[in-house]
Symmetry: C2
Subunit: 471 residues, 2 copies
């Protein structure tokens, strides 16, 4: 795939940013109270070349610290900068002279504290030398595809969501939440003040990234809205984009304006523009991640759903939410219903939702899946499992059956309820790229998002010949 | 408080059900594969008298097993029955003869499997002897106020929500979820087939229970709707009632009818009736528990909210959700704003949301709370904290400050974001009866529910003189 509309040199700089072979940590420190220590600690696992830089020199754990980036002989792809604000411009100039094409500036104290002029000066220097900048005021960037955590926050789990956040703290909070929920990221990019690299650049770059299945955005305000929507519309055809745009309300919009310096803008305009561009608009943090995660299936879907559950109540809640999402809880054919009756326990319900009752085990789930997968009147299977407490030693037979019995053709979304005792099953789903949720409503909502994207995709897939269609 | 409309003998039977001094486990078993073993294992911690009964006799771990309840000399308040369906009626008759006034029937295989006539026969026998019945097909009942887990599911955490579920499996899944989320229950009652004791009985009983602060209901269908609404309307004045009623959709409603045997009924009728009775209608499992938990504050609230946060993004999301819920993100007075400016770091935002920025610590939070609590134009404080990863050894200074600085007068709702590293802080909030949520949206929604209840309460508190007002 080619990175349409991006010049080759732009695309190359972003490659060096996201897939560097060599990284310099400028401001690396052995002092555990410094951010430069946190970044050093996190980047250590990176398999590329790591260079530590600090004007004080010395070493950390036997690793040499260079006194400046200039004194490094080898080529440096990416500089991650965590030094006091007053030195940042000089260091960017040094990076430019050294031929570094990409830098992440962690340092704060620029436009977000009213220091607009220094930030513009920084940009001018960066442009002069052709250095692309993430930040300032970023918590860093991470690429789990190459085991690079260039942030001062904890490692996220490896997966296929690429997450771009305008707020560093919220970005961190979301990463920590996904660790807890066993959801994985490919890239995490904290954009900070966006003096240079912004949503447009990153969405365009990630649209052609092989390790990314969906792109999640946390947005407070976008400066060049028209350009963003134009790019997003093209990129949505390759990678589904899910956005949480805050500042919907009056007070929230005022706060966003003061927090990021950019106008949050009229929410109706965002709403319409997002719809036009095929961007799924999340209402909450949970939606943002839940919906991004549904694309781990890497496919579009139809809307005729079969709900397969081992407990009546959760099945009903799933059906309620499916209909609310515009999905059809399909009436099962007589044939399918009778096939199910033959293999399920006597008091199971073979209408839809299909309630296998608690007694059904591995074999019943394998067979049920097979019957539902053979039914051409069903597009998607939503499996809702209440994990019984007797299973608290590991994952349930249902989890094993869903992985073993899935044909990978039919859409399969799962829900494993029961807090901690569901964890092993949820992890197993994640390891097999099957979207999994802790409640039937969240599972049904995510399936709704997948269906909503699928409709948009089918309407638009043949209209734009600029880029290859999504497989 | 008197249990209005309930006869004294009814109320007494329910006391024996929920606050028994002596419990007989009929079907107790040393066989770890039996439900009778799970119940024995769970009830062991109960400080009242426990009697084990099984027609086979013998003992479990040195504890005598009586061959029948008749052979026990002491008085038995409550019988929990987990024996094959064919013997249940005989055992209820024995319970009646023995003078037992309450029984929980775990055994399944009655109306839920089409065996309607046996269930009616069972009811007739119970009525003849004045034995009140929970079930059949119940997972049991628990009362954490007296450390009694009379179910075959895990111990829930101790707290002040009383939860009544028509679905056993969903009830269990919700209990497990609350263990994970550090939310506590006073009572958990799995109603099963509701041959005798139903939502009306339990709501009426719990409305006068001192250990209960709110009542959460999972409902699939109610048989005597008018009576329920009449009772709920009175009881809502004493204890807020939150209900998740499934079967909203066409397919869900059909499934509910088949699952519980009762018609789910026209959803609009439920919606209107709930509103009339002051019942907060939850849309999801998360809502049900989140909203029930907001009443751990044990107070009503006004709608003028101050949002206090250490991170801009989450503050904006909280503001957005507050306005969506009909709450007012109050414009701060010049005085309050200036007081905050004096004590917060230079780049903090002293508009509402108040963004203390990450640097603010214990002292700044104590002082901010004090300033906001003194402002008579603010009814509620919503504190939204992103837990920094450096704190992963325990709870944050923010958590300590919120507990130490809270005057217990102003409404205080909290959110601690960041997955597992927020757990210690969340537990500390729960231990201090301060509602706490993992996302700003869920926190704001819960505050919205509290405000919605408060409006209803204020409108109705003087209209019904039948019962004392809520304190």
């Amino acid at each position: 795939m080619k990175a349409s509309n991006m010049t080759t040199s732009q695309s190359k700089s972003l490659s060096k940013l996201i897939y560097p072979f060599s990284v310099a940590i400028i401001g690396a420190s052995a002092n555990k109270k410094k951010i430069g220590y946190e970044i050093y600690k996190n980047i250590k696992k990176f398999k590329g070349h790591i260079y530590l830089v600090n004007s004080k020199g010395g070493n950390i754990g036997g690793n040499k610290i260079y006194s400046s980036i200039i004194s490094i002989k080898d080529e440096i792809d990416l500089a991650i900068i965590a030094i006091p604000a007053t030195y940042v411009i000089d260091v960017i100039e040094e990076c430019g002279k050294k031929g570094v094409k990409a830098a992440v500036i962690i340092t704060a104290g620029f436009s977000e504290t009213g220091n607009e002029s220094t930030e513009q000066e920084l940009l001018a220097v960066a442009k002069q030398y052709g250095v692309r900048i993430v930040g300032p005021n970023s918590v860093g960037i991470a690429n789990n595809d190459i085991t690079m955590n260039g942030t001062f926050i904890m490692d996220s789990k490896k997966g296929h969501i690429s997450f771009i956040s305008q707020s560093g703290a919220l970005g961190a909070a979301i990463v920590y939440k996904t660790i807890y929920e066993n959801i994985g990221f490919s890239k995490f990019i904290s954009l900070g003040n966006m003096v240079d690299i912004n949503f447009c650049d990153m969405v365009e770059y990630l649209a052609t990234d092989n390790d990314t299945k969906s792109i999640a955005l946390y947005i407070e305000g976008i400066k060049n809205g028209k350009r963003f929507i134009k790019i997003a519309k093209r990129c949505s055809l390759k990678k589904p984009i899910i956005a949480l745009k805050s500042g919907k309300s009056n007070s929230g919009s005022r706060a966003a304006a003061s927090h990021t310096g950019s106008m949050a803008g009229d929410d109706d305009i965002y709403e319409a523009a997002f719809r036009q561009a095929g961007i799924l608009r999340a209402d909450t943090i949970d939606d943002l991640i839940d919906w991004a995660n549904v694309f781990s299936l890497n496919k579009t879907t139809g809307n005729r759903v079969a709900i397969l559950t081992n407990a009546g109540g959760p099945g009903i809640l799933a059906a309620d939410e499916c209909e609310k999402q515009g999905l059809i809880v399909a009436k099962l054919s007589k044939e399918t219903s009778e096939k199910l009756k033959k293999i399920l326990p006597p008091y199971a319900s073979t209408n839809n939702p299909i309630d296998t009752i608690a007694q059904a085990g591995y074999e019943e789930y394998i067979k049920s899946l097979k019957i539902l997968q053979e039914d051409t009147m069903i597009d998607a299977i939503l499996a809702v499992v209440v994990v019984p407490n007797f299973t608290n030693i590991g994952m349930t037979v249902h989890a094993r059956a869903l992985v073993d019995g899935w044909d990978k053709e039919k859409t399969l979304i799962t829900c494993f309820m029961s807090g901690e005792i569901a964890t092993a099953s949820m992890r197993y789903m994640a390891a097999n790229d099957i979207p999994c949720y802790p409640s039937p409503e969240r599972a049904a909502k995510a399936l709704g998002a997948l269906w909503s994207y699928s409709r948009w995709y089918n309407e638009h897939k043949n209209k734009d010949t600029d880029i290859p269609n999504r497989n």
